[in-house]
Symmetry: C3
Subunit: 96 residues, 3 copies
Amino acid sequence: MTAKPMTLLVIVTEAVLEDILIDEITELGAHGYTIGDGRGRGTHGTRAGRWTQGGNIRIEVVGSTQLCARIVARLKEAYENNYGLLMYTAPIELQN
Amino acid sequence: MTAKPMTLLVIVTEAVLEDILIDEITELGAHGYTIGDGRGRGTHGTRAGRWTQGGNIRIEVVGSTQLCARIVARLKEAYENNYGLLMYTAPIELQN
Amino acid sequence: MTAKPMTLLVIVTEAVLEDILIDEITELGAHGYTIGDGRGRGTHGTRAGRWTQGGNIRIEVVGSTQLCARIVARLKEAYENNYGLLMYTAPIELQN
């Protein structure tokens, strides 16, 4: 394997944000993303403790540490106060 | 980024367990979870080798190592003997 | 927890490949896999930059480093030239 160390960023948020987040992520430099549907409950964002619904999405971005940091900073600034939003990163090895 | 080291717990199991596992996880102290639908095959649990079906779910919990250990211990004790069940953990950085 | 260090392999590709990839993965020795539906955009594979569609799948395999390397090598060889394909690995702790 000719693996390349990269960062995985996972964003769990409300489905209503899907289109706008795709624009944000792409403008910040992401070359790709994968979105899946989910349901759940969370306590991040201003709706803490009340973020109980279906209609969530889970977005995965694989990129540089810098790209993931830019996305995290932008989404926190713009959406955390008004939407359920959970973000985490992990080191991965890109395999192709 | 003001990242906080946490543990990601992923649980892959049968969809019929969704409601009861939400109760278990919440009672054990999880503040949030994300559930997605899946399909697949697995060899964990007593149904080893015969766990071939759609109707799986994939649950993600982000929490402390201790919380994840409690959930793992409880689910193994209560469900592993009768249901397909795969659980894994990984260190992640919570970003908000 | 009696955790066992293993490798997680995530494969994001086109939904049309689902049946054939299940056969490939199983023949290479995977004991299980989980598949979820997704949508997104990517730049891997020959369709780079034009891999913009719904109809993606996200496959997770938990196995040995060697198994994951075999799957990666085989899928790169057979599918990367003609399909959108993104693969990454990460170390995880199998919990049961």
